[in-house]
Protein backbone atom coordinates (compact mmCIF):
# COMPACT_ATOMS: atom_id res chain seq x y z
CA UNK A 1 0.00 0.00 0.00
CA UNK A 2 1.17 3.54 -0.64
CA UNK A 3 -0.03 6.81 0.81
CA UNK A 4 -0.48 8.66 -2.46
CA UNK A 5 -3.95 7.62 -3.51
CA UNK A 6 -6.89 10.02 -3.85
CA UNK A 7 -8.04 9.21 -0.33
CA UNK A 8 -4.69 10.48 1.03
CA UNK A 9 -4.93 13.94 -0.52
CA UNK A 10 -6.02 17.09 1.24
CA UNK A 11 -9.58 18.28 0.66
CA UNK A 12 -8.30 21.55 -0.86
CA UNK A 13 -6.34 19.59 -3.49
CA UNK A 14 -9.30 17.32 -4.22
CA UNK A 15 -11.61 20.33 -4.57
CA UNK A 16 -9.26 21.87 -7.16
CA UNK A 17 -9.12 18.63 -9.13
CA UNK A 18 -12.91 18.28 -8.97
CA UNK A 19 -13.45 21.80 -10.30
CA UNK A 20 -10.88 21.25 -13.06
CA UNK A 21 -12.69 18.05 -14.01
CA UNK A 22 -9.61 15.88 -13.40
CA UNK A 23 -11.36 13.63 -10.92
CA UNK A 24 -14.93 12.70 -10.00
CA UNK A 25 -16.61 12.40 -6.63
CA UNK A 26 -17.29 8.75 -7.36
CA UNK A 27 -13.56 8.11 -7.82
CA UNK A 28 -12.72 9.85 -4.54
CA UNK A 29 -15.41 7.93 -2.64
CA UNK A 30 -14.31 4.61 -4.15
CA UNK A 31 -10.73 5.39 -3.15
CA UNK A 32 -11.83 5.91 0.49
CA UNK A 33 -14.00 2.77 0.47
CA UNK A 34 -11.13 0.78 -0.96
CA UNK A 35 -8.83 2.04 1.80
CA UNK A 36 -11.44 1.26 4.46
CA UNK A 37 -11.62 -2.30 3.15
CA UNK A 38 -7.83 -2.60 3.24
CA UNK A 39 -7.10 -1.26 6.74
CA UNK A 40 -10.31 -1.19 8.78
CA UNK A 41 -9.77 -4.70 10.17
CA UNK A 42 -6.64 -3.37 11.89
CA UNK A 43 -7.69 0.22 12.70
CA UNK A 44 -11.36 -0.25 13.76
CA UNK A 45 -12.16 3.42 13.23
CA UNK A 46 -15.80 2.89 12.23
CA UNK A 47 -18.80 1.63 14.18
CA UNK A 48 -21.18 1.93 11.23
CA UNK A 49 -19.64 2.32 7.79
CA UNK A 50 -22.17 3.58 5.22
CA UNK A 51 -20.74 2.59 1.81
CA UNK A 52 -24.17 2.41 0.15
CA UNK A 53 -25.10 5.87 1.39
CA UNK A 54 -21.70 7.18 0.24
CA UNK A 55 -22.09 5.74 -3.26
CA UNK A 56 -25.63 7.09 -3.66
CA UNK A 57 -24.62 10.54 -2.42
CA UNK A 58 -21.54 10.57 -4.64
CA UNK A 59 -23.79 10.24 -7.69
CA UNK A 60 -26.28 12.79 -6.34
CA UNK A 61 -23.71 15.54 -5.71
CA UNK A 62 -21.57 14.91 -8.82
CA UNK A 63 -22.68 18.08 -10.56
CA UNK A 64 -22.49 20.34 -7.49
CA UNK A 65 -19.00 18.96 -6.82
CA UNK A 66 -17.74 20.24 -10.17
CA UNK A 67 -18.87 23.82 -9.45
CA UNK A 68 -16.78 26.08 -7.26
CA UNK A 69 -19.79 27.31 -5.24
CA UNK A 70 -19.15 24.99 -2.27
CA UNK A 71 -15.95 24.29 -0.33
CA UNK A 72 -17.05 20.80 0.74
CA UNK A 73 -18.99 19.38 -2.22
CA UNK A 74 -17.89 15.94 -3.33
CA UNK A 75 -15.47 15.41 -0.45
CA UNK A 76 -16.33 12.36 1.68
CA UNK A 77 -16.44 12.74 5.46
CA UNK A 78 -16.75 10.55 8.55
CA UNK A 79 -18.82 11.61 11.57
CA UNK A 80 -18.21 10.75 15.19
CA UNK A 81 -21.02 8.52 16.39
CA UNK A 82 -22.36 11.07 18.87
CA UNK A 83 -23.70 13.21 16.00
CA UNK A 84 -27.22 12.21 14.97
CA UNK A 85 -27.88 11.12 11.39
CA UNK A 86 -31.46 10.62 10.23
CA UNK A 87 -32.12 6.96 9.49
CA UNK A 88 -28.54 5.91 10.31
CA UNK A 89 -27.81 4.19 13.63
CA UNK A 90 -26.16 6.49 16.19
CA UNK A 91 -24.80 4.66 19.23
CA UNK A 92 -22.50 7.04 21.16
CA UNK A 93 -20.35 3.86 21.34
CA UNK A 94 -22.72 2.71 24.10
CA UNK A 95 -24.77 -0.45 24.57
CA UNK A 96 -27.65 1.70 25.76
CA UNK A 97 -28.05 3.17 22.23
CA UNK A 98 -27.00 0.06 20.27
CA UNK A 99 -30.11 0.07 18.09
CA UNK A 100 -31.00 3.78 18.20
CA UNK A 101 -31.88 5.21 14.77
CA UNK A 102 -32.35 8.99 15.06
CA UNK A 103 -35.35 10.57 13.34
CA UNK A 104 -33.36 13.78 12.66
CA UNK A 105 -29.98 15.06 11.44
CA UNK A 106 -27.66 17.13 13.61
CA UNK A 107 -27.25 20.64 12.22
CA UNK A 108 -23.55 20.10 11.44
CA UNK A 109 -24.31 17.20 9.10
CA UNK A 110 -27.46 18.90 7.72
CA UNK A 111 -25.31 21.87 6.64
CA UNK A 112 -22.56 19.70 5.16
CA UNK A 113 -25.05 17.49 3.38
CA UNK A 114 -26.84 20.49 1.87
CA UNK A 115 -23.44 21.73 0.66
CA UNK A 116 -22.72 18.44 -1.16
CA UNK A 117 -20.76 16.44 1.41
CA UNK A 118 -20.76 12.64 1.26
CA UNK A 119 -21.08 10.40 4.35
CA UNK A 120 -18.63 7.49 4.69
CA UNK A 121 -19.84 6.34 8.08
CA UNK A 122 -20.04 6.85 11.82
CA UNK A 123 -16.81 6.59 13.77
CA UNK A 124 -15.87 4.84 16.98
CA UNK A 125 -15.25 6.91 20.12
CA UNK A 126 -15.20 6.67 23.88
CA UNK A 127 -18.69 5.92 25.21
CA UNK A 128 -20.68 9.18 25.23
CA UNK A 129 -17.37 10.96 24.42
CA UNK A 130 -15.98 10.25 27.88
CA UNK A 131 -12.34 9.27 27.68
CA UNK A 132 -8.91 10.08 26.32
CA UNK A 133 -7.94 6.83 24.62
CA UNK A 134 -11.02 5.44 22.85
CA UNK A 135 -10.76 2.39 25.13
CA UNK A 136 -14.12 3.22 26.72
CA UNK A 137 -16.05 2.27 23.58
CA UNK A 138 -18.51 -0.56 24.20
CA UNK A 139 -17.46 -1.90 20.79
CA UNK A 140 -13.72 -2.19 21.33
CA UNK A 141 -10.74 0.13 20.95
CA UNK A 142 -9.45 1.98 17.88
CA UNK A 143 -5.85 1.35 16.87
CA UNK A 144 -3.50 4.23 16.02
CA UNK A 145 -2.29 4.02 12.39
CA UNK A 146 1.16 5.19 13.58
CA UNK A 147 1.51 2.13 15.81
CA UNK A 148 -1.37 -0.31 15.99
CA UNK A 149 -0.52 -1.23 19.60
CA UNK A 150 -1.09 2.33 20.78
CA UNK A 151 -4.27 4.31 21.35
CA UNK A 152 -5.44 6.98 18.89
CA UNK A 153 -6.37 9.27 21.79
CA UNK A 154 -9.93 10.15 22.60
CA UNK A 155 -12.64 10.60 22.80
CA UNK A 156 -12.91 11.16 19.01
CA UNK A 157 -10.32 8.45 18.33
CA UNK A 158 -12.09 6.87 15.37
CA UNK A 159 -12.40 10.16 13.50
CA UNK A 160 -8.73 10.97 14.07
CA UNK A 161 -7.54 7.50 13.03
CA UNK A 162 -9.78 7.47 9.95
CA UNK A 163 -8.26 10.71 8.65
CA UNK A 164 -4.71 9.58 9.48
CA UNK A 165 -5.22 6.23 7.71
CA UNK A 166 -6.83 7.68 4.58
CA UNK A 167 -10.18 6.08 5.39
CA UNK A 168 -11.77 9.54 5.20
CA UNK A 169 -10.51 12.82 3.74
CA UNK A 170 -11.75 14.66 6.81
CA UNK A 171 -14.00 14.02 9.79
CA UNK A 172 -16.05 15.64 12.53
CA UNK A 173 -15.54 15.02 16.21
CA UNK A 174 -16.58 16.68 19.43
CA UNK A 175 -14.39 18.38 22.01
CA UNK A 176 -15.53 18.73 25.64
CA UNK A 177 -12.10 18.64 27.33
CA UNK A 178 -9.74 17.97 24.44
CA UNK A 179 -11.55 15.18 22.57
CA UNK A 180 -10.67 16.63 19.15
CA UNK A 181 -7.24 18.16 19.81
CA UNK A 182 -5.70 15.29 21.81
CA UNK A 183 -6.55 12.50 19.31
CA UNK A 184 -5.50 14.82 16.46
CA UNK A 185 -2.14 15.22 18.20
CA UNK A 186 -1.72 11.48 18.79
CA UNK A 187 -2.67 10.62 15.19
CA UNK A 188 -0.67 13.37 13.45
CA UNK A 189 -3.59 15.33 11.96
CA UNK A 190 -5.06 18.81 12.45
CA UNK A 191 -7.78 19.15 15.11
CA UNK A 192 -9.81 22.35 15.54
CA UNK A 193 -12.02 23.14 18.52
CA UNK A 194 -13.82 26.39 17.69
CA UNK A 195 -15.23 28.98 20.07
CA UNK A 196 -18.07 27.60 22.24
CA UNK A 197 -21.27 28.31 20.31
CA UNK A 198 -19.73 28.98 16.89
CA UNK A 199 -20.92 25.62 15.49
CA UNK A 200 -24.45 24.51 16.36
CA UNK A 201 -24.72 21.55 18.70
CA UNK A 202 -28.24 20.58 17.72
CA UNK A 203 -28.06 16.80 17.32
CA UNK A 204 -24.77 16.50 19.19
CA UNK A 205 -25.85 14.03 21.88
CA UNK A 206 -25.07 15.94 25.06
CA UNK A 207 -22.31 15.05 27.53
CA UNK A 208 -21.43 18.32 29.33
CA UNK A 209 -23.49 21.12 27.87
CA UNK A 210 -21.41 24.09 29.06
CA UNK A 211 -18.27 22.54 27.50
CA UNK A 212 -19.34 20.52 24.43
CA UNK A 213 -18.26 21.75 20.98
CA UNK A 214 -18.24 20.25 17.48
CA UNK A 215 -14.73 20.17 15.99
CA UNK A 216 -12.93 19.09 12.83
CA UNK A 217 -10.20 16.61 11.85
CA UNK A 218 -8.32 17.47 8.66
CA UNK A 219 -4.96 17.00 6.93
CA UNK A 220 -4.26 20.73 6.82
CA UNK A 221 -5.26 23.98 8.47
CA UNK A 222 -6.71 25.13 5.14
CA UNK A 223 -9.03 22.12 5.10
CA UNK A 224 -10.17 23.01 8.64
CA UNK A 225 -10.94 26.55 7.46
CA UNK A 226 -12.95 25.14 4.54
CA UNK A 227 -15.07 22.97 6.82
CA UNK A 228 -15.55 25.72 9.38
CA UNK A 229 -16.82 28.05 6.66
CA UNK A 230 -19.78 25.71 6.11
CA UNK A 231 -20.33 24.69 9.75
CA UNK A 232 -20.22 28.03 11.57
CA UNK A 233 -23.06 30.42 12.16
CA UNK A 234 -26.25 30.85 14.14
CA UNK A 235 -28.76 28.02 14.34
CA UNK A 236 -32.23 28.66 15.74
CA UNK A 237 -32.30 25.03 16.93
CA UNK A 238 -29.44 25.64 19.41
CA UNK A 239 -30.08 28.34 22.02
CA UNK A 240 -26.34 28.52 22.81
CA UNK A 241 -25.28 29.13 19.21
CA UNK A 242 -23.77 32.58 18.76
CA UNK A 243 -25.04 35.43 16.62
CA UNK A 244 -22.02 35.29 14.37
CA UNK A 245 -22.13 35.48 10.61
CA UNK A 246 -19.45 32.81 10.09
CA UNK A 247 -17.94 33.37 6.66
CA UNK A 248 -15.04 32.28 4.49
CA UNK A 249 -12.25 31.39 6.90
CA UNK A 250 -9.78 30.54 4.13
CA UNK A 251 -9.47 34.27 3.39
CA UNK A 252 -7.58 34.63 6.68
CA UNK A 253 -4.77 32.30 5.60
CA UNK A 254 -2.29 34.95 4.47
CA UNK A 255 0.83 33.21 5.73
CA UNK A 256 1.88 36.43 7.44
CA UNK A 257 2.60 36.35 11.17
CA UNK A 258 5.12 39.19 11.33
CA UNK A 259 4.81 41.21 14.51
CA UNK A 260 2.27 38.87 16.09
CA UNK A 261 2.83 38.32 19.79
CA UNK A 262 3.03 34.63 20.70
CA UNK A 263 2.88 33.62 24.37
CA UNK A 264 4.42 30.30 25.40
CA UNK A 265 2.37 28.90 28.29
CA UNK A 266 4.86 28.38 31.12
CA UNK A 267 2.72 25.83 33.00
CA UNK A 268 2.68 23.50 29.97
CA UNK A 269 6.39 22.66 30.15
CA UNK A 270 6.59 21.21 33.67
CA UNK A 271 7.32 17.67 34.75
CA UNK A 272 5.19 15.03 33.06
CA UNK A 273 5.88 16.45 29.60
CA UNK A 274 7.88 13.89 27.61
CA UNK A 275 11.27 15.12 26.33
CA UNK A 276 10.32 14.27 22.73
CA UNK A 277 7.19 16.41 23.03
CA UNK A 278 9.08 19.29 24.64
CA UNK A 279 11.75 19.24 21.94
CA UNK A 280 9.38 19.18 18.95
CA UNK A 281 7.24 21.96 20.42
CA UNK A 282 10.25 24.13 21.20
CA UNK A 283 11.59 23.71 17.68
CA UNK A 284 8.22 24.77 16.27
CA UNK A 285 8.26 27.87 18.47
CA UNK A 286 11.68 28.78 17.03
CA UNK A 287 10.28 28.41 13.52
CA UNK A 288 7.43 30.78 14.42
CA UNK A 289 10.01 33.28 15.62
CA UNK A 290 11.87 32.82 12.35
CA UNK A 291 8.66 33.82 10.54
CA UNK A 292 8.71 37.16 12.33
CA UNK A 293 6.46 36.51 15.33
CA UNK A 294 7.65 37.84 18.68
CA UNK A 295 7.86 35.16 21.36
CA UNK A 296 7.39 35.66 25.09
CA UNK A 297 6.44 33.71 28.19
CA UNK A 298 2.78 33.62 29.19
CA UNK A 299 1.17 32.19 32.29
CA UNK A 300 -2.14 30.43 32.99
CA UNK A 301 -1.58 30.08 36.74
CA UNK A 302 -4.77 28.08 37.42
CA UNK A 303 -3.92 25.26 34.97
CA UNK A 304 -3.69 22.60 37.71
CA UNK A 305 -6.94 23.73 39.30
CA UNK A 306 -8.61 23.74 35.89
CA UNK A 307 -8.22 19.95 35.71
CA UNK A 308 -9.83 19.53 39.14
CA UNK A 309 -12.65 21.90 38.22
CA UNK A 310 -13.23 20.07 34.95
CA UNK A 311 -13.54 16.71 36.69
CA UNK A 312 -16.33 18.14 38.82
CA UNK A 313 -18.15 20.24 36.22
CA UNK A 314 -18.11 17.68 33.37
CA UNK A 315 -19.34 14.72 35.47
CA UNK A 316 -21.99 16.90 37.11
CA UNK A 317 -23.40 17.96 33.76
CA UNK A 318 -23.02 14.38 32.51
CA UNK A 319 -25.04 12.95 35.38
CA UNK A 320 -27.83 15.37 34.54
CA UNK A 321 -27.71 14.92 30.74
CA UNK A 322 -27.56 11.12 30.89
CA UNK A 323 -30.63 10.94 33.11
CA UNK A 324 -32.59 10.82 29.85
CA UNK A 325 -31.53 7.19 29.24
CA UNK A 326 -34.34 5.67 31.24
CA UNK A 327 -35.52 2.84 28.98
CA UNK A 328 -38.80 4.61 28.20
CA UNK A 329 -38.60 6.42 24.85
CA UNK A 330 -35.60 4.92 23.04
CA UNK A 331 -32.59 2.71 23.58
CA UNK A 332 -32.11 -0.36 25.74
CA UNK A 333 -34.73 -1.55 28.23
CA UNK A 334 -34.14 -4.27 30.82
CA UNK A 335 -37.39 -5.44 32.39
CA UNK A 336 -38.18 -4.73 36.06
CA UNK A 337 -41.07 -5.10 38.48
CA UNK A 338 -41.78 -1.39 38.47
CA UNK A 339 -40.47 1.65 36.60
CA UNK A 340 -37.66 2.47 39.03
CA UNK A 341 -36.32 -1.08 38.97
CA UNK A 342 -36.59 -1.08 35.15
CA UNK A 343 -34.58 2.15 34.99
CA UNK A 344 -31.90 0.98 37.41
CA UNK A 345 -31.42 -2.32 35.58
CA UNK A 346 -31.47 -0.66 32.18
CA UNK A 347 -28.81 1.85 33.15
CA UNK A 348 -26.75 -0.74 35.03
CA UNK A 349 -26.66 -2.96 31.95
CA UNK A 350 -26.43 -0.22 29.32
CA UNK A 351 -23.60 2.00 30.57
CA UNK A 352 -19.90 1.06 30.69
CA UNK A 353 -17.46 1.59 33.59
CA UNK A 354 -16.26 5.13 32.75
CA UNK A 355 -19.78 6.45 32.16
CA UNK A 356 -20.92 4.92 35.44
CA UNK A 357 -17.92 6.45 37.20
CA UNK A 358 -18.78 9.92 35.90
CA UNK A 359 -22.50 9.61 36.59
CA UNK A 360 -21.69 8.59 40.17
CA UNK A 361 -19.10 11.33 40.57
CA UNK A 362 -21.47 13.98 39.21
CA UNK A 363 -24.44 12.74 41.22
CA UNK A 364 -22.32 12.90 44.36
CA UNK A 365 -20.92 16.36 43.56
CA UNK A 366 -24.44 17.71 43.03
CA UNK A 367 -26.04 16.00 46.02
CA UNK A 368 -27.30 17.81 49.10
CA UNK A 369 -24.49 18.89 51.42
CA UNK A 370 -21.71 18.67 48.82
CA UNK A 371 -22.95 20.99 46.07
CA UNK A 372 -21.20 24.17 47.28
CA UNK A 373 -17.89 22.51 48.18
CA UNK A 374 -17.55 20.73 44.85
CA UNK A 375 -19.72 22.02 41.99
CA UNK A 376 -20.11 25.57 43.32
CA UNK A 377 -16.40 25.95 44.02
CA UNK A 378 -15.50 24.43 40.63
CA UNK A 379 -17.64 27.06 38.90
CA UNK A 380 -15.69 29.78 40.72
CA UNK A 381 -12.39 28.24 39.67
CA UNK A 382 -13.77 28.33 36.14
CA UNK A 383 -14.11 32.11 36.47
CA UNK A 384 -10.44 32.28 37.50
CA UNK A 385 -9.40 30.21 34.48
CA UNK A 386 -11.27 32.66 32.23
CA UNK A 387 -9.46 35.56 33.93
CA UNK A 388 -6.12 33.82 33.33
CA UNK A 389 -6.85 33.88 29.59
CA UNK A 390 -8.09 37.48 29.65
CA UNK A 391 -4.86 38.56 31.31
CA UNK A 392 -2.67 36.52 28.93
CA UNK A 393 -4.48 37.91 25.86
CA UNK A 394 -3.77 41.47 27.05
CA UNK A 395 -0.12 40.77 26.21
CA UNK A 396 -0.31 38.08 23.51
CA UNK A 397 -2.32 37.49 20.33
CA UNK A 398 -2.10 33.70 20.58
CA UNK A 399 -0.88 31.21 23.17
CA UNK A 400 1.08 28.05 22.37
CA UNK A 401 1.83 24.82 24.23
CA UNK A 402 2.04 21.08 23.66
CA UNK A 403 -1.43 19.65 22.97
CA UNK A 404 -0.80 16.65 25.20
CA UNK A 405 2.02 15.87 27.65
CA UNK A 406 2.75 12.59 25.84
CA UNK A 407 2.55 10.99 22.43
CA UNK A 408 0.37 7.92 21.86
CA UNK A 409 0.51 5.46 24.76
CA UNK A 410 -0.01 1.71 24.64
CA UNK A 411 -3.49 0.21 24.66
CA UNK A 412 -4.25 -0.91 28.22
CA UNK A 413 -1.48 1.18 29.79
CA UNK A 414 -3.74 3.62 31.67
CA UNK A 415 -7.08 1.81 31.88
CA UNK A 416 -6.69 0.90 35.57
CA UNK A 417 -5.78 4.42 36.64
CA UNK A 418 -8.51 6.97 35.90
CA UNK A 419 -6.45 9.85 37.31
CA UNK A 420 -3.47 9.15 35.03
CA UNK A 421 -5.89 9.02 32.10
CA UNK A 422 -7.47 12.33 33.10
CA UNK A 423 -4.00 13.97 33.07
CA UNK A 424 -3.87 13.41 29.27
CA UNK A 425 -6.16 16.43 28.98
CA UNK A 426 -4.40 18.85 31.32
CA UNK A 427 -3.38 21.27 28.50
CA UNK A 428 -6.61 21.03 26.50
CA UNK A 429 -9.20 21.39 29.28
CA UNK A 430 -8.62 25.11 30.08
CA UNK A 431 -9.79 26.20 26.60
CA UNK A 432 -13.10 24.34 27.10
CA UNK A 433 -13.63 25.93 30.49
CA UNK A 434 -13.02 29.37 28.96
CA UNK A 435 -14.86 28.67 25.68
CA UNK A 436 -11.95 29.94 23.57
CA UNK A 437 -10.88 28.41 20.23
CA UNK A 438 -7.81 26.17 19.99
CA UNK A 439 -6.19 24.01 17.35
CA UNK A 440 -3.67 21.17 17.36
CA UNK A 441 -1.32 20.79 14.41
CA UNK A 442 1.43 18.19 14.00
CA UNK A 443 4.90 19.63 14.71
CA UNK A 444 7.15 16.57 14.37
CA UNK A 445 7.80 13.07 15.66
CA UNK A 446 9.25 11.86 18.94
CA UNK A 447 12.13 9.39 19.24
CA UNK A 448 9.71 6.48 18.74
CA UNK A 449 8.43 7.98 15.51
CA UNK A 450 5.06 9.02 16.99
CA UNK A 451 3.51 12.39 16.12
CA UNK A 452 3.63 15.38 18.49
CA UNK A 453 0.82 17.96 18.59
CA UNK A 454 1.33 21.72 18.85
CA UNK A 455 -1.58 23.63 20.37
CA UNK A 456 -2.45 27.24 19.55
CA UNK A 457 -5.16 29.12 21.43
CA UNK A 458 -6.82 32.44 20.56
CA UNK A 459 -9.40 34.70 22.24
CA UNK A 460 -13.12 33.93 21.75
CA UNK A 461 -14.14 34.23 18.08
CA UNK A 462 -10.49 34.66 17.12
CA UNK A 463 -10.68 31.80 14.58
CA UNK A 464 -9.27 33.91 11.71
CA UNK A 465 -6.17 34.75 13.72
CA UNK A 466 -5.84 31.21 15.09
CA UNK A 467 -6.06 29.64 11.64
CA UNK A 468 -3.69 32.23 10.13
CA UNK A 469 -0.92 31.46 12.62
CA UNK A 470 -1.48 27.69 12.46
CA UNK A 471 -1.45 27.73 8.66
CA UNK A 472 1.74 29.81 8.51
CA UNK A 473 3.51 27.44 10.91
CA UNK A 474 2.22 24.37 9.08
CA UNK A 475 3.60 25.69 5.79
CA UNK A 476 6.91 26.58 7.41
CA UNK A 477 7.28 23.12 8.99
CA UNK A 478 6.26 21.45 5.70
CA UNK A 479 6.03 18.01 7.34
CA UNK A 480 5.31 15.01 5.20
CA UNK A 481 3.65 12.68 7.69
CA UNK A 482 2.93 9.12 6.63
CA UNK A 483 1.75 6.71 9.35
CA UNK A 484 3.53 3.39 9.67
CA UNK A 485 0.38 1.58 8.55
CA UNK A 486 0.67 3.15 5.07
CA UNK A 487 4.43 2.77 4.65
CA UNK A 488 4.55 -0.97 4.00
Amino acid sequence: MSADELCDLRASELRSRLVRGEVSTVEIVESCLHRIEAVEGRVRAFLTPTPDVARAQAEAVAELARSDSSTVAGIPIALKDVLTTRGIRTTCASRILETYVPPYDCTAWARLSAAGSVLLGKTNCDEFAMGSSNENSAYGPVHNPWNLETVPGGSSGGSAAAVAAGEAVWALGTDTGGSVRQPAALCGVVGLKPTYGLISRYGLIAFASSLDTVGTFTRSVRDAAMLLSVLSGRDPMDATSLDHPGGDYTAALTGDVRGLRVGVVREAFGEGVEPGVRQAVQQAIERLEGLGASIGEASLPHTDYALSAYYLIAPSECSSNLARYDGVRYGLRVAGEDSVEMMMRTRGAGFGPEVKRRIMLGTYALSAGYYEAYYGQAQKVRTLVIRDYERAFETYDVLVSPTSPTTAFRIGERTDDPLAMYLSDVFTIPANLAGVPAISIPCGLDERGLPVGFQLTAPALGEELLLRVADALERELALDLVPELLRA
Binding site: Y196, T240, V328, Y330, S339, A373, A460
Partner: protein, 97 residues
Protein backbone atom coordinates in the same frame (compact mmCIF):
# COMPACT_ATOMS: atom_id res chain seq x y z
CA UNK B 1 -6.16 15.32 52.88
CA UNK B 2 -8.96 13.30 54.48
CA UNK B 3 -10.13 10.40 52.29
CA UNK B 4 -13.68 10.98 51.14
CA UNK B 5 -16.12 8.41 52.50
CA UNK B 6 -18.95 7.95 50.04
CA UNK B 7 -22.28 6.23 50.63
CA UNK B 8 -22.18 4.42 47.29
CA UNK B 9 -25.61 2.83 47.65
CA UNK B 10 -27.25 6.18 48.32
CA UNK B 11 -25.57 7.85 45.34
CA UNK B 12 -26.39 4.89 43.07
CA UNK B 13 -30.04 5.15 44.08
CA UNK B 14 -30.06 8.87 43.31
CA UNK B 15 -28.50 8.10 39.91
CA UNK B 16 -30.93 5.21 39.21
CA UNK B 17 -27.95 2.96 38.57
CA UNK B 18 -27.84 -0.73 39.46
CA UNK B 19 -24.29 -1.72 40.47
CA UNK B 20 -22.81 -5.14 41.15
CA UNK B 21 -20.98 -5.68 44.47
CA UNK B 22 -17.65 -5.56 42.56
CA UNK B 23 -18.61 -2.28 40.88
CA UNK B 24 -19.58 -0.80 44.25
CA UNK B 25 -16.23 -1.72 45.80
CA UNK B 26 -14.22 -0.44 42.86
CA UNK B 27 -16.17 2.81 42.64
CA UNK B 28 -15.83 3.47 46.37
CA UNK B 29 -12.03 3.45 46.02
CA UNK B 30 -11.85 5.26 42.66
CA UNK B 31 -14.32 8.01 43.50
CA UNK B 32 -12.51 8.67 46.75
CA UNK B 33 -9.20 9.10 44.91
CA UNK B 34 -10.72 11.31 42.20
CA UNK B 35 -12.53 13.47 44.76
CA UNK B 36 -9.33 13.89 46.76
CA UNK B 37 -7.76 15.35 43.63
CA UNK B 38 -10.85 17.35 42.70
CA UNK B 39 -11.00 18.85 46.19
CA UNK B 40 -8.03 20.98 45.11
CA UNK B 41 -10.63 23.46 43.87
CA UNK B 42 -11.18 24.26 47.56
CA UNK B 43 -7.58 25.47 47.94
CA UNK B 44 -8.24 28.54 45.79
CA UNK B 45 -9.49 31.64 47.57
CA UNK B 46 -12.73 32.61 45.87
CA UNK B 47 -14.61 34.72 48.41
CA UNK B 48 -15.14 37.54 45.89
CA UNK B 49 -15.33 35.38 42.73
CA UNK B 50 -18.59 34.88 40.87
CA UNK B 51 -19.32 31.35 39.55
CA UNK B 52 -19.35 30.74 35.79
CA UNK B 53 -22.11 28.52 34.42
CA UNK B 54 -21.49 29.13 30.72
CA UNK B 55 -18.25 30.32 29.07
CA UNK B 56 -19.84 32.69 26.56
CA UNK B 57 -22.77 34.25 28.39
CA UNK B 58 -25.84 34.91 26.28
CA UNK B 59 -29.11 36.40 27.37
CA UNK B 60 -32.04 33.98 27.40
CA UNK B 61 -32.93 33.37 23.76
CA UNK B 62 -36.55 33.25 22.71
CA UNK B 63 -37.91 32.44 19.28
CA UNK B 64 -41.20 33.62 17.84
CA UNK B 65 -44.08 31.46 19.06
CA UNK B 66 -44.86 30.08 15.62
CA UNK B 67 -45.65 26.39 15.05
CA UNK B 68 -43.11 24.58 12.88
CA UNK B 69 -43.14 21.00 11.57
CA UNK B 70 -42.13 18.41 14.16
CA UNK B 71 -42.00 14.63 14.51
CA UNK B 72 -45.24 12.74 13.99
CA UNK B 73 -46.30 9.93 16.35
CA UNK B 74 -44.80 7.16 14.23
CA UNK B 75 -41.36 8.79 14.07
CA UNK B 76 -41.47 9.74 17.75
CA UNK B 77 -42.37 6.18 18.75
CA UNK B 78 -40.10 4.41 16.27
CA UNK B 79 -37.36 3.79 18.88
CA UNK B 80 -39.71 2.95 21.77
CA UNK B 81 -38.72 -0.23 23.64
CA UNK B 82 -42.46 -0.90 24.13
CA UNK B 83 -45.52 0.94 22.87
CA UNK B 84 -49.28 0.73 23.16
CA UNK B 85 -51.20 2.60 20.45
CA UNK B 86 -49.64 6.08 20.30
CA UNK B 87 -48.09 5.86 23.75
CA UNK B 88 -44.87 4.68 25.41
CA UNK B 89 -45.64 1.66 27.56
CA UNK B 90 -43.85 1.43 30.92
CA UNK B 91 -44.03 -0.88 33.94
CA UNK B 92 -46.10 0.09 36.96
CA UNK B 93 -45.17 3.51 38.38
CA UNK B 94 -47.39 3.78 41.48
CA UNK B 95 -48.17 1.12 44.05
CA UNK B 96 -51.55 -0.52 43.57
CA UNK B 97 -53.53 -1.35 46.73
Amino acid sequence: MVPVDIDIDHVARLARLELSPEERDRLRVQLSLILEHAAKVGEVATADVQPTASPIPRPMVLRPDVPTPSLGPEEALANAPEREDDRFRVPRIVEVE
